[in-house]
Symmetry: D2
Subunit: 386 residues, 4 copies
């Protein structure tokens, strides 16, 4: 059996990054339902993120999205974060919301649009220099909606060219995390649709280019933990965008749709030596109808619970059963860990860290929600477009 | 072999309804790319629809969406349409874009919201009285995002209650078309997710309640033509919402993703005696990145081509091969029709009807696109929200 | 909170039927891996089933499959079962393994084949008379592999005719359970592919015709608990065939692929008043690579654990949160039950019933496996074909 | 517009390999329906393959499957083929049908089983030396059915080790084609589940290791032509296993389920310079219910028709529309080619090659089917197991 002190130490050391955009409004193509109290500025987003970290103790960094979080002085923003016990995390580029990008950004058939897109990516590295961020997260909505619309081969050439230019610009301690997505908003061919494509590009670029796995970005039935295991073995896993889904979208709170899958993913992380700083564990999700800060706290807790169960797997018993070809026995070792109720253990870890054992209750009791609802009146609420 | 004169007569008599919203702007949750020349009012949408009908000859009606097409005087709108050779078609209700509908409309746990939603549906029947529309098309975005969020059983009770109230209000020549959708915007459970649910409700309501098949609203791999055959056999197929998709969305031009599937669907329509007025053949799609009027013309032509191929199936040869258990022979009869290039035949049908044989070329030559781009400057372009 | 005594009583009263064929050899189209100790006769299957019931206490009946379990004297077989504390359960018909059925059984274009298939179904009712079985489970592999191969409409007519003849033959206390399956072995169109088709047929037949939900027989992403809730509301749910899967097959142990889904299904059963004798809870799965009897015991336990969690849902708290529109609160009530480790509770239930608290350990200790491996030498092992 | 002479020359030069096993019996896990006239020996399979080549003119090689086609003297078998105008093609290994392989072959936790499997693979290279085959096709059924059953990471290590040993053994003119498959017969994790995994291994092995794309081996919705384009760009596409499917299986005749998809695939082959000898175009399918030789002829014709349409795409018009960002125009160029009826063109190509213009009619008229049905009586029909 795993040593409990080691398990608790690993849980206490875990770090989960929350995304600035999850604090703002979001929705579907049908409707964005605004919520009272939503932040209106990057600083207000950091205020909310600070509460998540205060109650969970494991969410000390916040990912930014440019231009949604564009400010005049990023160093000042970083200082503002620091004063609240936070750091600024990954910089997320956005080359999908200008009218120019209708037919793509870095893969657009028009070289002028490609130049503009590349300029934005390089600007993001400038911002990283100012914020001290390590990771540039690249997600491209690029693709085509109709067969024949553009040349699949040429689009890969253009993509490779842009990635190389960004890679060249990275500092010694900076990385590029390349995200893949099965589809949406491109409805016929997406230029980086799967881990294989992201891997092939990263391999050519070099060690500072790594693949990021968004748990919602796969074809139906895809075994995500297999991909995690493979990328860890190849030393090409740079991070996670956590969320969950029942169908094709990537909006729901991580662990909400299939907690067993999240556990299996975290088991492969533990098995592959991926817990630690090398891999960025980030949330990337929307809270379209549920209260935002509590949803983010719940999501952080869901990752913690899956991690705790993964750490509780009896590695020796598992290996013995596997090598003996004992199918039911090996499966049972894994299921024993999954079936364990780890909530008391995590309450203990929190108490030992000086936190309230129940972050949800602590947040409810804090009065923060009532405060922001009363306080944040007027102005323009943050959302995907602002 | 089918008699060519009969085939041509059927093609000349075909009617395909275009949706007012396809002429306006649309997009994904990531971005709506506006297009120049897009209509700003319901009347401008009708102006565009008139061009589609002028060049194709088979698109004489336009479906409205309330409130997107709300006007003070629907009779005047109908007269405006009539003057352009058009009629007003199905009325599409919208109970998904008010803030009240965050947790549902007719299935909302809050009875006040349910009453409001029902009020809107009844208002739509009032509009039908004014426009002379036969069909009320009901699509509900209602559903839940998280397990436990609401009671699946109770939501069916509420749905049944609302549908019964609307059914009661229908006039003798009016029908209710109930649409199902696999998911989106609800991400856990949708209240009318499949044809079975729509069918079960329609059966209890009575003959004026019919199921509408949206070709984009099924689980991956679903055999849509089987559903069409079944509903025709049950006399419960009220109409189609045509579009196509490669993944989970329902946005692409009908026939663009899988022309063979569209052919099989139209074959079952022909086989089941469904060509004719009883069944409403409607487009329901978005043209996010392609030019709108040409895309609608192309879509109408795609339905025509699939219908032409379906009509060309040698019914006697097919039945003989089927009854003989000749798998390859029966399949070959169907494929012979599919592999036929029906574009010359349709050009002939158009010429005989006094139309240009190539509607796309005719539209390009008409100068309409340049006209609207120059003319429709200022004002607010129509879109999903207006 | 639910009353613990009530929960324990419900768990003690639960009944799960095991299938005779799960004790025999099975495999994929690539290979059947035989296992030592596998039964060679229906009686040996009952011997094994008796051990499952002995250790779990909740598996007192065994489903038969005709012709795989064909015997000369079914009354004698029933007596043999009775002596071992077992009853004979559902009779499963098989109209897919004769050469005649290449193009279908009751939907075959050849009337002689249809007559033969119907004869088999009626024979199964004769067997039910002899065994005292209540339920006839009908699964049809019927369908087509290629578009055009046969007429979808006509096949429904033939199916309806056969079902009506069987229904007519049923005794007062007998039922017909109609199973649907998304695909396989038919690869283009399956004649009963979804719950809607099964429901439509059962509705016309009458109250003795009920739908059976096989958890592995749905399109990717299908919300199975929604179907369960709907069929319960319509009083048309006759039973379950339990198993699980990650992809398209229905072979794995129930609860193995997605324990959260199984919990949600059992929650809807509890919510809809479906625990009890009206609904048949049956396993239908294959143990291709894992030891068979332990796999069946594990499967029974998985259903028990999901049921225990479902019973532990705080119904009042859930309803309050749902009616208040508290998305996160309602979800949390459900998740609290799911996250509970119910293994101690079930151990208690077993101990109170005079059983060993751990059925897997009890079976291992019993020596039965060693006994059958040593004893069952020679003869022909049971499998899908014998 | 493409030059017609060039198109015809390309079609006349096309080569499609047929698989020996498609001539034998096959089926699903439920039933193998035997057909009269099926070959009993490798030589009889070659006899049938010779007829396919005789009537189509483009199927001069036959893939072998070891041990299904094991003979004492492979050189003699090659000579037998040569006398009939055929060559022996790819050698397909089989490490999935021995009882030892229950938990895997080259990735089995038991080193003795791994050694045995590797031995078989090396034996296949010996056979290639004797037959003069260029390609060793490796498909591994290896994987696990239950989470935890074995270590995903370790299985990749074992796989890499076996592949390296085989690669080492390859002659200068020999290649290894590594096939991936989404799932089946492994139902939880497959060791080579996607093109990315195959690509990563092949990349490390070297230029003689290439990926083979089986058109039936992808997750639902996967854009296969994208993978083809990508692998061609990476010079890592070694060949195709052609077949088609509506659901999860890979059994139907290529082009039968989605002829538009096959066209798009062949378009990317043409676009990427992949027509020619470098890439092996192979059928890999089963004819479970349809007559085998005619089904193979039809499949060859389907590939020819898709190729013809791909060759007819107006490359210049397409590129112009693509670079101009003309979505509908570019799509129309592709669709014009797809909508063309190429059957007359292919009839011409055949006539010019001295063949009957209609291979199906020619085969029917040849009397071969009647001959083999009468002649091949007694003995054991070939199938997947023999």
């Amino acid at each position: 059996m795993p040593d409990l002190a080691t398990v608790k130490a690993a849980l206490a050391a875990q770090r989960i990054e929350t995304p600035s955009w999850a604090y703002g409004n979001s929705g579907t193509r049908f409707k964005v339902f605004a919520q009272p109290g939503v932040p209106r500025t990057p600083r207000e987003k950091l205020d909310d993120a600070a509460r998540v970290h205060e109650h969970t103790g494991v969410a000390p960094t916040v990912a930014l999205h440019i231009p949604w979080d564009r400010v005049d002085d990023y160093a000042a923003l970083a200082a503002y974060a620091r004063e609240r016990g936070l750091g600024l995390g990954a910089i997320n580029s956005n080359v999908f919301q200008d009218d120019d990008y209708k037919l793509g950004s870095v893969t657009n058939p028009d070289p002028a649009v490609r130049r503009k897109a590349l300029g934005h990516l390089l600007e993001c590295v400038d911002i990283m220099d100012a914020t001290g961020s390590r990771d540039l997260k690249l997600w491209f909505s690029d693709g085509t909606n109709y067969p024949g619309q553009d040349d699949l081969h040429a689009r890969q050439d253009r993509l490779a060219e842009a990635l190389a230019a960004v890679y060249e610009r990275l500092g010694d301690d900076q990385r590029m995390l390349l995200e893949y997505k099965f589809f949406e908003p491109a409805f016929y061919a997406t230029d980086v649709p799967d881990w294989g494509t992201a891997y092939a590009h990263c391999l050519k670029l070099g060690p500072k280019a790594q693949v990021v796995v968004d748990t919602g970005h796969h074809a139906p039935g895809t075994n995500i933990e297999f991909i995690v295991a493979l990328l860890l073995r190849e030393r090409k896993l740079g991070g996670f965008d956590f969320n969950s889904r029942f169908y094709a979208d990537d909006d729901l709170m991580v662990g909400a749709a299939d907690p067993f899958q999240l556990f299996r993913i975290m088991y492969e992380v533990v098995r592959g030596g991926g817990l630690g700083d090398e891999i960025a564990f980030m949330l990337d999700q929307c809270h379209n109808i549920e209260a935002k800060i509590p949803a983010i706290i719940r999501s952080v807790m869901n990752v913690q619970e899956a991690t705790a169960k993964a750490l509780l797997v009896d590695a020796k018993a598992l290996r013995d059963a596997q090598l003996a070809g004992d199918v039911l026995g090996a499966n049972a070792v894994l299921m024993d860990a999954f079936n364990t109720d780890v909530r008391p253990l995590l309450a203990e870890v929190r108490t030992e860290a000086g936190l309230h054992p129940d972050p949800m209750a602590a947040y409810r009791a804090s009065g923060w929600q009532e405060h922001i609802v009363a306080d944040r009146v007027g102005g323009t609420q943050a959302g995907w477009g602002a």
